[in-house]
C-alpha cells in the first residue's frame, strides 16, 4: 500500500516537468520527421532528397566543415586554458580563490549579446587593441581583427570557458590528496604523479566539459554572425538562413539533424576513449 502510494506521489511530482520536456521531445521528433519530407509545408512525400541535396551543395559541406573545425578548436583551447584554472580553484590555497571562482562564474549570468558587444569594442577597427598598438607605434593603420575564424574562436572561448572550468574542477575536487601523497612517498616525482594519477583521474571532467563545450559551440549563432561578419559561415548561420530567410523548413531541418548528429558522434567518440583510458 505504502509503495503504491509513494509511486503515485513520485509520478504526480514529476508529471509537470515531464509534460514540459515532452514539448522538447515533440519538437525534436518534428524536426527529424520534416527533414524526410520533400518540402514542408506543401509536398509531404517521404524522401531522402534533402540529405542528398545537403551533401551535394559545396556551400553547406564547407559550412559543416567550418562548424566542426570551430567546435574542435574551441574545445581544445578551453581544455588547455581551463585545466590550470580549475587546478588553481581546487588545489591552490589562497585568499583570492573565492574571488576567482566568482569571476569565472559571473560571466554565465551576463547576456551573450552584451559579451559579444564587448569583443566588438576590443577587436573592432576602432577598438581597444588597434588603438593600443597604434599609440605604441607598433602599427600605422588598423589591423583587421574582426571577420575571421580566430575572432569567432576568441568570442566562443570566452562564452564557454566557464563550463569547462566548472566541469574539470568538480572532478579534481573529488581526487583524494592522499593518493598523490602516497605516490610521492613511494618515490614518484611531482610531474610523474600528475601524469600517472591526477591527469587520468581528471579525464572524466575534461570529457564532460568537452562534450558540453563542443555541443554549445556548434549550436551558437550569434558569435559567428557578429564577430565573423560573413566570413565564418557555420551551420548555425545556414540553418537560420534556410529557416527564416529563404523559408525552406525541410532543408533547415536536415541541417539541424546533421548538426545534432555531429554533437552526438563527438560525444560517443569521447565517451568511448574515456572508457578505454580508465580501463587501462
Amino acid at each position: 500500500m505504502r509503495t503504491v502510494r509513494s509511486k503515485l506521489l513520485i509520478a504526480l511530482l514529476l508529471a509537470p516537468a515531464v509534460l514540459i520536456s515532452m514539448v522538447m521531445i515533440a519538437a525534436i521528433a518534428t524536426t527529424l520527421g520534416i527533414s524526410f519530407l520533400r518540402q514542408f509545408p506543401g509536398d509531404l512525400q517521404v524522401t531522402l532528397a534533402n540529405y542528398i541535396a545537403f551533401l551535394s551543395q559545396p556551400f553547406l559541406l564547407k559550412a559543416a566543415y567550418q562548424t566542426m573545425a570551430l567546435g574542435l578548436v574551441v574545445t581544445a583551447i578551453c581544455v588547455v586554458l581551463g585545466y590550470p584554472v580549475a587546478w588553481f580553484l581546487v588545489k591552490r590555497d589562497t585568499r583570492f580563490r573565492n574571488a576567482v571562482f566568482l569571476i569565472v562564474l559571473a560571466p554565465l549570468l551576463v547576456s551573450i549579446v552584451v559579451r559579444t558587444v564587448g569583443w566588438i569594442i576590443i577587436l573592432g577597427n576602432e577598438g581597444l587593441v588597434n588603438a593600443l598598438l597604434i599609440s605604441l607605434g607598433v602599427i600605422d593603420s588598423s589591423l583587421q581583427l574582426m571577420r575571421s575564424f580566430w575572432t569567432v574562436v576568441v568570442g566562443l572561448v570566452h562564452v564557454l570557458l566557464p563550463f569547462m572550468i566548472l566541469s574539470i574542477a568538480s572532478v579534481l575536487s573529488k581526487i583524494d590528496d592522499d593518493v598523490i601523497e602516497a605516490a610521492m612517498l613511494l618515490g614518484a616525482r611531482p610531474a610523474t604523479a600528475f601524469l600517472k594519477i591526477t591527469l587520468p583521474m581528471s579525464m572524466q571532467g575534461v570529457a564532460a566539459g568537452s562534450i558540453i563545450v563542443f555541443a554549445l559551440t556548434i549550436g551558437t549563432y550569434l558569435t559567428p554572425i557578429w564577430l565573423g561578419r560573413g566570413n565564418v559561415n557555420v551551420l548555425a548561420i545556414s540553418i537560420h538562413e534556410q529557416a527564416l530567410i529563404s523559408v525552406e523548413w525541410s532543408a533547415a531541418a536536415t541541417s539541424a539533424v546533421l548538426l545534432t548528429i555531429m554533437a552526438l558522434v563527438f560525444m560517443a567518440i569521447f565517451l568511448a576513449s574515456i572508457r578505454r583510458m580508465t580501463r587501462r
Binding site: L13, A106, T116, G118, L216, G219, A236, I239
Partner: protein, 263 residues
C-alpha cells in the same frame, strides 16, 4: 625550489584568464558614455546621449516589457514545476531516475540552434509560432533545468531526518511542506528564481526563432538594432544589463553561493 616557483606561474596564468574573462564586460562601461557616433575605444568625450536615445526609442521599452513579462512568468512556472520535480528526483529512488534527470537537463547541452529550429517547427504546427504562449513555453523549458538544479542543491543539504522528525511528531504531509520544507528551501528557491529570471532575460537563439514583428524580446531588439546601427546605444543597453547581472550574482552569492548552485 621548483615547487615554490610553480604556483607563481600558475597564479600569473590565472590572472591572465581573469583579465580575459572580465575584459569584454568592463570595456563596455566607458563606451556607453562616449559622445562619439561610432562604437570605438578609447571613447571620445562624455555624454549620456546614447542612454537618452535608448529611452526615446519605444521599441526598446516594449521589448524590455515583453522580456520582463516572459521572464517573470517563466520563472514562476519553472520554480513550481522544478520544486516538485527536484523533490521527486532527490528524495526518492525509483526506476528511470537518472534518465529523467538527464532528460530535464537536456536543454542545457542541446545545440541551441537545433533546439531553436525544432521548437519553432513544433510551435508552428501547433499554431503558436511568433505567439506569446509559444515563447513562454519555450522559456519554461530552458529555465526549468536551472530551477531543478538550484532547488536540488539545497534539498540535498537538508537532512531527511528533519522530515522524519516532523512526520513522527504528527505533521501531515501538507504541513511538513508548508511549515518545514518551504522555509528551509527558501534560499535555494530564491537563487533558482534569480537564475531562471536572468537566463530567460538573456535567452537569444531560441527567442530569435520564436519572436517576430510585434513580439520582440530585448536581446533580439538589440540584435536587430545592431544590424543597422553601430553607435554606442548597444553599449548603453549593455551597461544596464550588466548592472542587472551584477545584482543577480551578488544576491545569489549571498543566498547560497554561486559555486554551490553551479557545481
Amino acid at each position: 625550489m621548483r615547487s615554490r616557483a610553480r604556483p607563481r606561474y600558475l597564479d600569473a596564468f590565472v590572472a591572465a584568464i581573469v583579465v580575459f574573462l572580465l575584459a569584454p564586460i568592463v570595456v563596455v562601461l566607458p563606451s556607453a558614455f562616449s559622445s562619439d557616433v561610432a562604437l570605438s575605444f578609447p571613447p571620445q568625450g562624455f555624454s549620456t546621449r546614447w542612454f537618452e536615445n535608448l529611452l526615446s526609442r519605444g521599441e526598446f521599452l516594449s521589448a524590455a516589457r515583453l522580456s520582463v513579462t516572459v521572464a517573470i512568468l517563466a520563472t514562476a512556472i519553472s520554480l513550481i514545476v522544478g520544486l516538485l520535480a527536484a523533490y521527486a528526483l532527490f528524495r526518492f529512488d525509483f526506476w528511470g531516475r537518472s534518465a529523467l534527470e538527464a532528460l530535464f537537463m537536456t536543454p542545457l547541452v542541446f545545440p541551441a540552434i537545433a533546439l531553436a529550429l525544432s521548437l519553432a517547427m513544433v510551435m508552428s504546427t501547433a499554431g503558436l509560432l511568433r505567439d506569446f504562449w509559444g515563447l513562454l513555453i519555450a522559456h519554461v523549458l530552458i529555465t526549468m533545468p536551472y530551477a531543478i538544479r538550484t532547488i536540488g542543491a539545497s534539498l540535498r543539504e537538508i537532512s531527511i531526518a528533519i522530515e522524519d522528525a516532523a512526520l513522527t511528531l504528527g505533521a501531515r504531509p501538507a504541513q511538513l511542506f508548508w511549515y518545514v520544507m518551504l522555509p528551509l528551501l527558501r534560499p535555494g528557491i530564491a537563487a533558482g528564481a534569480i537564475f531562471s529570471f536572468i537566463i530567460s532575460m538573456d535567452e537569444f537563439t531560441v527567442s530569435l526563432f520564436l519572436t517576430g514583428p510585434g513580439l520582440t524580446t530585448l536581446p533580439i531588439e538589440i540584435f536587430n538594432y545592431a544590424e543597422f546601427n553601430s553607435d554606442p546605444t548597444i553599449a548603453s543597453i549593455s551597461v544596464i544589463l550588466i548592472l542587472i547581472s551584477c545584482i543577480a550574482v551578488a544576491t545569489i552569492e549571498r543566498l547560497m553561493g554561486l559555486r554551490r548552485v553551479l557545481s
